[in-house]
C-alpha cells in the first residue's frame, strides 16, 4: 500500500494514469504530453508499474503501458462485502425485534 500511495502522490504520475486509462500508450507517446524528459517519464512509469497501477505489454522493442483495471474490481469487492455484512446484521437485529419469542427459542 505504501508503494501505491507514494506512486499516487505525484501529479505527473496521476496525469500519466489518466493518459493510459482508455488506451495503451508507449513511453514516447506519453512523454510527448509532458515538458519533462523521456527518461523522467520512464522513471515515473517504473514507479507506477512497481506499484501495480499500470500494466506493461512488451511488443518487439516497444513497451505499451495501460492503467490496471483490477483496482476498481477490488474497490467494488470490498464495498460489496462491507454492505453485505451490514445487511445481515440488520436482518438479525430487525427479526429479533419483531420475533423475540422465536429468537429466544432458537437460542435455547
Amino acid at each position: 500500500m505504501d508503494a501505491q500511495l507514494k506512486a499516487l502522490a505525484d501529479p505527473t504520475r496521476r496525469t500519466i494514469l489518466r493518459l493510459v486509462r482508455d488506451e495503451e500508450r508507449t513511453v514516447n507517446e506519453i512523454a510527448a504530453e509532458f515538458a519533462v524528459s523521456r527518461p523522467a517519464i520512464s522513471q515515473h512509469l517504473k514507479v507506477l508499474s512497481d506499484a501495480g497501477l499500470v500494466t506493461v505489454r512488451r511488443e518487439a522493442t516497444r513497451r505499451w503501458y495501460r492503467s490496471s483495471p483490477e483496482r476498481i474490481d477490488e474497490v467494488r469487492q470490498w464495498l460489496g462485502d462491507f454492505w453485505a455484512h451490514g445487511l445481515e446484521e440488520l436482518k438479525r437485529a430487525a427479526e429479533q425485534e419483531e420475533w423475540p419469542e422465536r429468537a429466544r427459542r432458537q437460542r435455547s
Partner: protein
C-alpha cells in the same frame, strides 16, 4: 430489454445487494433512521439527521468515519444518501450515492441496497489506494475494533 442493458453498461461501477428480512418495512426503516438501532448493524456511533438535506456521520470503527447527506427520506419505503470517508480526499462525502429501497414481500421486507457512482476507473486509479486503505481498515478492525493510528488521517501520504 435493450434499454436496460444499455443503462447497465453505462453504470458500471455499482454495488447492488438485496436481502429478505422477516420484519415489517416500518421496523426495518427504524434501523436506518434511529441512531441506536443503526449502530446495531452499522458502525459504533451515529450522528444523523434523517431528512432531506440532513447530515449523516457514522463512526464505522476507530479508524474510519463515513460522512454523507440525506437526499431522500420516504418513511418505510426509501432512503437515498451520499457516502464518503472523512479525511480521505479520494472519496470525499458526496462522491458516491447509496439508495435503499424497502419493499413489502411475503409478510416481510425485501431490502435492496445500491451503492452507485463509485470512483470510475480513473478515480479508482487515482484514489484506489485511498479506498483500499479505508476498506482494509474496516475489514481488519470490524465494528468496534481498533486498527491503530490512521496514517492518512494524520496527514501522511
Amino acid at each position: 430489454m435493450a434499454g436496460a442493458r444499455e443503462a447497465a453498461a453505462l453504470v458500471t461501477d455499482v454495488v447492488e445487494l438485496a436481502i429478505h428480512i422477516e420484519a415489517t418495512p416500518a421496523t426495518v426503516f427504524r434501523y436506518f433512521v434511529d441512531p441506536e438501532r443503526l449502530v446495531r448493524w452499522q458502525g459504533i456511533e451515529a450522528d444523523i439527521e434523517p431528512e432531506p438535506g440532513g447530515r449523516m456521520r457514522i463512526r464505522i470503527n476507530q479508524g474510519a468515519v463515513a460522512l454523507g447527506e440525506y437526499l431522500e427520506v420516504v418513511p418505510d419505503e426509501r432512503l437515498v444518501f451520499t457516502w464518503g470517508w472523512e479525511g480521505n480526499d479520494g472519496v470525499p462525502p458526496g462522491s458516491s450515492t447509496v439508495e435503499v429501497t424497502l419493499t413489502p414481500e411475503a409478510g416481510g421486507t425485501t431490502v435492496t441496497l445500491v451503492h452507485r457512482d463509485l470512483p470510475d476507473a480513473q478515480a479508482a486509479t487515482d484514489h484506489g489506494a485511498g479506498w483500499t486503505h479505508y476498506l482494509a481498515r474496516l475489514q481488519v478492525a470490524g465494528p468496534g475494533g481498533d486498527p491503530g493510528p490512521d496514517a492518512l488521517a494524520s496527514g501522511g501520504s
